[in-house]
């Protein structure tokens, strides 16, 4: 049997990798890729806590499903924003979008 | 328990016994037997696949008033083997600037996505690889891998035609997955389970086709679109895109795409028969022997495959924008409306007699279909008036 710690460590590692991607990539699509990894790590945690807690309480899975919905919404809007920005400014590099910076 | 009632289990237990007898530990022998089972299933599917090439060529020949392959062997039955030898000895080319790993992985994934579906397909009452409780969803999940393989093939070929073909096919697959998922929910509502075996068992009295003919029709249309066959074969519109995403593939790699497509068509025929035509059931004949059940299932799957071929060889290819509009504006709302109506009727008629239940379901399907066709008709009439002018339409009626 796998102890809970393994899943949580795995999720923490995946989250940190995603965090690194979201903080250090220049391309906006790549930043969103990092955010996806972080959301997945959270989901692993939610499902792991469901499995190791009271199985009859489905809260973990329910919120994992809601995270799925949020991730889908985030990607749809995020990528639409990226494409819209690309059309107007011809770039997807986050640093080059300094229109609001004085 | 004897061999004729449950051949797979008896054979598996015997094999495990043999392996343990050879001094293997129990888990390892179990894993080995499972691997052998998977290998056997894939082997049988590939052999069927070889003959599908022959069937396809014969059937299209008949539709086009030809004879088809008839030189090699009786009825040209050896022809597919000659085809395979030809494919294998052809030069295996990789285009310049192609992304090699992705390029070579795509045909494998394409084939894999089809073979994976068979993991949840019950081919006889006791023959089922995995008794998954989310079997119907698993079907869509494997479709996702197929979509991925196509976009990989289109992108890695480093060819404009391949990329456009890949884009089109992916747009189609993503779009038509929605009505397919909605109609998959209809057998799920009737049987109360997403398990394939439970869906078949629930079709005890009536096939779900009788309860939901419209659902079966929408599923078939979505399945044909997923397959990328005519009238939805825009990905390989020869006159505009050469061969779509498979343009740059040669030899056996193209063969994998081709074989995958044929097997996919048979698979969808089988899934269609499971969801709406009772799968391996045929008036209790399936109880006689599992082997007979396999034959019944195969016959139904081939019948579904034949319907798909029939559509393919009698319809014209439509334009990509027409097709996506057809999906998003007509098919998807219709599928959702049908799903809602079915769920509502199911809740209303839950305690009614089976006859009333069946009749209510059938009538609600007819009503939904009729309303949809009336709306489509009035919209398309307006559209035509806008394009051609009122007078011309009026004249055409005389």
């Amino acid at each position: 049997m796998i102890p809970l710690s393994w899943y949580l460590t795995f999720a923490a590692a995946l989250f940190s990798i995603g965090l690194f991607g979201a903080l250090s990539r220049r391309n906006m699509v790549a930043i969103l890729l990092g955010v996806e990894l972080m959301l997945n790590a959270v989901n692993v945690n939610l499902v792991a806590f469901w499995r190791y807690g009271d199985v009859a309480q489905m809260a973990g899975q329910v919120f994992a499903i809601i995270v799925f919905a949020v991730a889908a919404a985030e990607v749809a809007v995020g990528l639409a924003l990226v494409i819209s920005v690309y059309r107007r400014h011809n770039t997807v590099i986050a640093e080059e979008l300094d229109l609001m910076k004085w | 328990m004897n061999f004729w009632n449950d051949p797979l289990k008896v054979a598996a237990e015997w094999l495990e016994g043999v392996f343990v007898g050879w001094g293997m530990n129990e888990i390892a022998s179990h894993v080995l037997v499972v691997f052998l089972g998977v290998f056997l299933l894939v082997l049988i599917l590939m052999v069927i696949d070889i003959f599908l090439v022959w069937i396809e060529r014969k059937v299209v020949a008949r539709f086009q008033d030809r004879i088809g392959p008839n030189r090699l062997g009786p009825f040209g039955l050896v022809q597919p083997f000659a085809d395979i030898i030809k494919l294998i000895i052809k030069e295996d080319t990789t285009p310049d600037g192609a992304d090699k790993v992705v390029y070579n992985l795509a045909p494998v994934l394409s084939m894999m996505s089809v073979l994976m579906v068979w993991a949840v397909v019950p081919i006889a009452p006791v023959m089922l690889s995995v008794d998954l409780n989310v079997g119907a969803l698993f079907l869509i999940a494997t479709g996702a891998i197929g979509t991925l393989s196509i976009i990989m093939a289109g992108w890695s070929s480093n060819n404009k035609f391949a990329l456009i073909g890949g884009f089109r096919q992916v747009a189609i697959m993503v779009a038509f997955e929605v009505p397919m998922l909605a109609t998959l929910m209809i057998p799920t509502i009737f049987s109360g389970s997403m398990n394939m075996n439970a869906i078949i068992t629930a079709q005890d009295g009536l096939w779900f086709f009788v309860l939901s003919p419209l659902g079966a029709l929408i599923f078939l249309i979505a399945a044909i679109a997923e397959l990328g066959r005519a009238p939805f074969d825009l990905a390989e519109g020869e006159s505009e895109l050469v061969a779509g995403y498979s343009t740059e593939y040669s030899g056996m790699k193209f063969g994998m795409f081709y074989a995958g497509e044929l097997l996919h068509a048979l698979t969808f025929g089988g899934i269609w028969s499971i969801l709406f035509f009772g799968g391996y059931r045929f008036f209790g004949l399936e109880q006689v022997s599992p082997f007979l059940a396999i034959l019944i299932f195969l016959a139904k799957a081939l019948l579904g495959y034949w319907v798909i071929m029939w559509v393919k060889y009698t319809m014209l290819r439509i334009r990509i924008d027409q097709m996506l509009v057809f999906n998003w504006v007509f098919l998807t709302p219709l599928a959702f409306a049908l799903m809602l109506v079915t769920a509502l009727m199911n809740a209303l008629l839950k305690d009614a007699s089976p006859w009333l239940y069946g009749l209510g379901m059938f009538l609600s399907n007819v009503v939904v279909g009729w309303i949809a066709i009336e709306i489509a008709r009035s919209v398309s009439r307006k559209e035509r008036e806008k394009v051609e002018g009122v007078h011309q339409v009026a004249e055409a009626h005389h």
Binding site: W6, S16 | V102, V174
Partner: protein
């Protein structure tokens, strides 16, 4: 070490490795394809957690929709798809430090927490996860409100995405 543990270690290792490749690949298409591999690994982890439904939904939603959307977006913003130039910004070391600190902090915190070595109870025989999940998602005593809010969120996202990406001519 049991078979299950070995499987978990292999899957987790492969998932984390492909996760690292997602954030370090120069070619964005490759990054997106590695994301697919990572998502697949997470789906296997769900299966190990006896959450088969979640695994299948993960493949349908993430690989079938989200990953495909990513690949499309990378291709539609093609100019920056080339691998020239730095892929990481000038503050990448700070990002890396943050990530390492986050992992270290979480790990240290988890080490001192008592529930870590907990093992899972057997799932009671005859317990129908999917039926229970469906019932709780639609029951007013349980999670019908979050469920409905999620559907409103999806609708809003759909409208927003269509509006943003619509090419006004």
């Amino acid at each position: 070490m049991t078979t299950e543990q070995i499987i978990f270690l292999i899957v987790a290792g492969a998932t984390l490795a492909s996760g690292l490749l997602v954030v370090t690949s120069r070619n964005l298409i490759h990054a997106a394809l590695w994301l697919v591999a990572t998502l697949f690994g997470v789906a296997i982890v769900y299966t190990l957690l006896n959450a088969g439904f979640m695994a299948v939904v993960q493949v349908v939603v993430y690989i079938g929709a989200i990953a495909i959307l990513f690949i499309f977006a990378v291709m539609l913003t093609r100019k920056d798809m080339r691998d020239s130039g730095a892929q990481l910004n000038s503050n990448w070391w700070a990002g890396a430090l943050m990530a390492v600190l986050t992992f270290g902090g979480l790990f240290a915190m988890l080490r001192t927490w008592g529930g870590m070595s907990k093992t899972a109870a057997e799932i009671p025989a005859g317990f129908d996860q999917i039926a229970e999940l469906g019932a709780q998602l639609t029951s007013p005593e349980a999670y019908v409100l979050p469920f409905e809010v999620a559907s409103v969120l999806l609708l809003a996202a759909m409208v927003g995405a269509v509006y943003l990406a619509f090419n006004k001519k």
